[in-house]
Symmetry: C2
Subunit: 528 residues, 2 copies
């Protein structure tokens, strides 16, 4: 498929405006053709206007059509085949195997939402029937369900060129609920974005959904991104990326004349709490698993375990020794962008500069290329950690900080002092008293992992990929799993509506055969 380097605005392509940029191969430092042209203000307006015009028709499509649309997108992406793998690996430096699994995950995710929409009960349909004889006042017939918000802007992540990008989780959940989507393409993988964007456009055409249901816009966040989040016809936003980027957009969403829901997934150090008995029984296994988790994908995951709490003293010696050796023996990585690798170097250098932080594994060589990075391991005592808030800042990359604690009370105190997190992990045995720690972590994290590692997020109905601020802008939500469909909807209620005016989900006969709460009871029965 030939790349044109321009935005996708309905069935047309954007102009070749000025200030073009090129993708960059972080492995070879080569620029990649074609040139990518930022959308200008009128193109952004046109895309949003098309989306707004498409909304009314799209939100009234049948669940079957929306499910077919999502599945067709998955098939279109799969048809990209090697051209997608080639472009994505060039732009990101990620290995082909990773692109294959991430593509599979992305397409499975689209199909999961297709199944969800087809099943239909997610709309939380509720019906309370009238009672004409109630005293002192007749009880009206009241029915409600969740409906979509309107055009959604999605800001894709650099580190997941597929699963959290153009056809990623936010796009899938927003489309599933019936919202048009405009994606602001990430500058780190514009070609991958275009390929996937074209695949979605093909599905728009072949499924006969309205033209404006999908748009893809190139350009700088400060211009195109800000124009989108401030646009009066945009009704919600989703973002995955840095804390500063997320906070800027949060502020813009809250400062609108009409504030809109905005979901930013921003940063997390994903603390791991290792109890003494677990360390004694499975120290080797934990060291090995932790090493894999910290270095997976060059550590470029929002679930990367960046803090590990271990008991102080000789009990941890073997574990530290083994982890240190593994980290030292880890081959260098190519990171996604020069911005990410230089931020990583700043982060590990800042840790090294702390007088009370011990560098257990740190490569002092000049990197062989701009995007090269090496695994790093540091150690610090709990008292120092507690006294230096900067030590709990995220270092995005293959680095982790071991924090040695003296007793279980201190471990709980360390947990209490943490910011909001996407995940927290406990390694314990049945003999360890985890309850107090667990209760603190329930208040700190969206997902609590037992005896495993936080990288790898299962895409399913029950998963929560979210967490209290500043892990996300809004801890009431998840960006992964079917619960994510609740991001882009709101309830609407019909009082004494004639059957003909009601959506199918709320009609007496229950034509979609969904679960509904009728007079307080869950049922799939029709109302007689």
């Amino acid at each position: 498929m030939r790349l044109s380097g321009t935005s996708i605005i309905g069935f047309r392509r954007g102009e070749q405006n000025g200030n073009a940029f090129y993708a960059f191969n972080p492995g070879t430092a080569a620029s990649l053709h074609p040139a990518y042209h930022p959308a200008n203000r009128s193109e952004v307006d046109r895309a949003v206007l098309l989306a707004s015009e498409a909304f009314e028709q799209f939100r009234h499509t049948t669940p079957q059509l929306r499910a077919a649309f999502l599945r067709t997108i998955a098939e279109s992406i799969e048809r990209l085949g090697e051209s997608l793998v080639e472009r994505a690996t060039s732009e990101t430096g990620l290995p082909a195997a990773r692109i294959h699994t991430e593509t599979a995950r992305t397409c499975n995710q689209l199909r999961l939402f297709a199944d969800l929409v087809e099943e239909g009960s997610w709309v939380d349909a509720r019906i309370d029937r009238a009672d004409p004889f109630r005293q002192p006042l007749r009880r009206p017939d009241v029915r409600s369900m969740l409906i979509p918000l309107g055009p959604v802007v999605v800001f894709g992540a650099s580190n997941f060129p597929l699963a959290f990008s153009v056809a990623g989780g936010d796009t899938a959940s927003a489309l599933a609920a019936g919202n048009p989507v405009i994606v602001k393409a990430h500058h780190a993988h514009p070609g991958t974005a275009e390929l996937v964007g074209l695949a979605i456009s093909e599905a728009v055409k072949s499924c006969d959904v309205p033209e404006g249901v999908f748009g893809l816009l190139y350009g700088p966040g400060e211009l195109v991104g800000m124009q989108l989040i401030r646009h009066p016809l945009i009704k919600a936003g989703g973002f995955t990326g840095s804390r500063s980027g997320g906070q800027t957009l949060m502020r813009a969403a809250a400062d609108r004349p009409d504030p809109i829901p905005f979901y930013a997934e921003m940063s997390s150090v994903n603390p791991v709490f290792v109890f003494p008995n677990a360390l004694q029984q499975r120290g080797h296994e934990i060291a090995s698993g932790l090493h894999s988790s910290v270095t997976l994908g060059a550590g470029q995951f929002c679930t990367n375990p960046g803090l590990v709490f271990i008991p102080e003293g000789t009990i941890s010696n073997d574990f530290i020794h083994e982890l240190k050796n593994k980290m030292q023996q880890t081959s260098p990585f190519v990171m996604l962008t020069s911005g990410i690798s230089s931020a990583y170097r700043r982060g590990v250098n800042a840790l090294a500069d702390h007088s009370d932080v011990e560098a257990l594994s740190r490569d002092e060589h000049e990197p062989a290329s701009e995007c090269e990075a090496r695994a790093a391991l540091y150690k610090v005592a709990a008292e120092t950690f507690l006294a230096n808030a900067d030590l709990s800042a995220e270092v995005f990359g293959p680095s982790t900080l071991l924090v040695t604690y003296s007793n279980s009370n201190q471990l709980v105190e360390l947990a209490r002092r943490l910011e909001g997190q996407l995940t927290a992990t406990i390694h314990a045995t049945p003999n360890d008293h985890v309850e107090e720690l667990l209760h603190v972590l329930e208040q700190k994290a969206g997902r609590i992992v037992f005896d495993g590692f936080p990288t790898g997020v299962e895409v399913c109905a029950s998963v929560v990929h979210g967490g209290p601020y500043p892990a996300t802008s809004d801890g009431r939500s998840t960006s992964v799993g079917t619960r994510a469909i609740l991001r882009f909807v709101r309830p609407v209620c019909y009082q004494d509506a004639p059957q003909s005016a009601l959506p199918d989900e709320l009609k007496d006969e229950n034509p979609l055969q969904i679960w509904r709460m009728v007079d307080g009871k869950l049922t799939k029965e029709r109302i007689k």
Copy 2:
């Protein structure tokens, strides 16, 4: 019960600090004893600290205990009997019958949440079981449910001294979910607030829930209110009141170092759309119902119908004539506060000053007392209405504006131009084509009423009392009905947790016998 005029901070009372204020009888203009003393900064801190300390224990209470606590609050309020009626009528000018029905509604609401918590399925428990054989990676066991956020601050409304105040909807839903609550008492009914606050305190003691679960603080919004919404230990807020008050608090909640969920229900003009056939068939009935709805409770309802779209021309003559007569014959009202009545006078005067607005019913007499107000009726042509945005501003009180439209296209255009609303109402017959209008209104309002009137909000599972900004700060939510429990919770997920670490809601055996989504299917079965 003797009123002391001080805040309720756990099991202690606040100090008699300076700057005391008195309640005011809007009917007699008499000040009411005792003096009410604002909480000082350290008292606010102490109340919040107690709430924060109570949280961990309170959120782990059994659903049965929380249900019993809610029911005990209802009983305590009912035991207040005539002392509550007497104080509430004196402070508000509302008739005793209204206080009786509002007390019943408040207590029913507490019991509705008790039933909801006892039934237990609201936690949205989800379980996806492990698959050790999945390739390429084992599938973990993932389980999730909704848990409470932490201490919630509730700002009560002036116009519902019971149902949207100290033990109102936000308090009931927050407590039901397991959150401690601190209420900032409304200055318009401090004695009612104290009586209800003491009733809750009694229930706290007799049910043996932790002391800090409830607090009641007096003082100005600019000081006590702002200190509460900005307090680091406060995790969410709920508000019912004016647009300016709500917006100030929204801003404060968003500007915190850690922004928190904040739900403000602010303003709404609750448009009523009357189709020609309905006017012809039921003009008399609509005029009569509209008059009752506009003047109910002196028009001091957020669901008061402030805009009525009727066909232009002779078809509306009888309707207008009848409504005008009814409004002119309506006895004067006593409004809740002098602030509300003077704002009402400014609002109706502003309408009268519009050169193209016709005053159909307007009393020009000087009011007999500061809080007196009279029903008002105005009429304007659609073109004028569309050209003057200020004509769609809320006038809080017994006033409504008739807007004459020329055809159904214009009616839809009028709907499109409206701000977000709590409600919208359609009067039509089976021969009217309501679909296009309905689809616009679904995007504008939280509740759509057919052939009725928006005042009177049924408290049930399916009701939505919310709507797009600026009707509320967050259209994804409702402040009435059982769905309101979703305001003060967030999902948390457990991966590969041992049974002993899981909350009862997620244990294999399903000891609470709640509905859960297990492997994608809703079931009450235990897991074998």
